[in-house]
Symmetry: C2
Subunit: 213 residues, 2 copies
């Protein structure tokens, strides 16, 4: 094993350090975030910083770097209060990655990268038609992380569109069956293969496998 400490981290070149800590943290979800600005122009951007905060009410967090290329997305969320998170399907991972390019404000990444905006019920932000799990959120809180000037946006889920055959009787959404992928770092994409779902663990009791949809 290679052992590294703070003094070593400080000597890392900036991009090396970003790649190192981004990938060392484990597999991440990857979403396309859909927004509209006040004039109804659409924006689409790839994010890999979504995390589950709770189910009742359903809350997800999202890490925002205010001065990065994600700023159009964040400005739209602040302006309208709504955004969508759309799971990236395997067949579209290159196009999804391409949304991270610095397009000008006049260009919609839906058009530039080949995705289709779609709307459900009265939710005001665009979903991605190609995605098997489409989630609509309302911004309900934001926390400032003073240590590195990032923001944690907290969204409450108010609308879900999901491929029907991927939802199990106990609520388990089989995103692998739906074709969703995982990512590592800022640029690597992975398909998955489930090893097992395991039963609720108790001391001195053998685990067994749970069926999936």
């Amino acid at each position: 094993m290679k052992i590294l400490q703070t003094v070593d981290f400080e000597q890392m070149e900036r991009r090396y350090r970003a790649a190192f800590f981004n990938t060392a943290g484990g597999f991440k979800p990857v979403h396309l975030v859909g927004t509209a600005n006040g004039e109804g122009k659409y924006n689409l951007s790839i994010f890999n910083s979504i995390f589950h905060l709770g189910a009742n009410p359903p809350l997800w967090g999202m890490v925002i770097r205010p001065h990065s290329v994600e700023r159009h997305t964040w400005e739209n969320i602040l302006e309208t209060g709504f955004y969508t998170l759309n799971a990236v399907p395997e067949a579209f991972f290159r196009q999804a990655h391409q949304t991270s390019a610095k397009y000008s404000r006049e260009v919609s990444e839906f058009d530039a990268c080949g995705f289709t905006p779609v709307f459900h019920r009265d939710f005001p932000a665009p979903f991605v038609a190609e995605s098997p799990v489409q989630i609509g959120l309302k911004l309900v809180d934001q926390m400032h992380v003073s240590l590195n000037d990032t923001i944690i946006a907290v969204g409450q889920i108010v609308c879900v569109a999901v491929q029907e055959d991927c939802v199990g009787l106990d609520g388990y959404v089989d995103i692998e069956k739906a074709g969703a992928i995982a990512c590592t770092g800022l640029d690597a994409y992975h398909r998955t293969q489930r090893l097992a779902r395991l039963s609720y663990a108790k001391p001195d009791t053998p685990l067994h496998e749970i069926p999936t949809p």
Copy 2:
């Protein structure tokens, strides 16, 4: 597509809702969190709520539910200020899941579930010897999410032990090569297969693949 809205979420049975929103959010990292209490007794618990907050300084967040089975871990972190995050290798996913059982305070999950505590340099919390990516953190901030009474613990990485052949020349840590796995929801584990690493995206420029270690 099945469309669901807030009124539908409110009618879901509690465990159904927890499974639904936990799995719909995408693939997650999975770590064993190692701690010691003030008397030097070790604790080990599985977590799937780690997220990257920034690389300089290297900061990761972790979602804590203060009243859950994770409370021993959180009490130890508050008492000592230090904890370790250890990537779960595929061969150990059943044992890792078993650490979520409600063992009494007298039992160390290292012993009960078959993991080996190991120490690096002067870091005060136990790492997991079986893990290919072992991260030592110092608690530097905590944020209270008032909407659902959870805590986001912010840790600064101060020590890393990583399998040497998995670190690329540009800092990319190949956790797939290291044998780390992903999870969905609270109970499903997945191996991965990389599709590609993609180059930095620019408008109107074709993407190309980047080599991995």
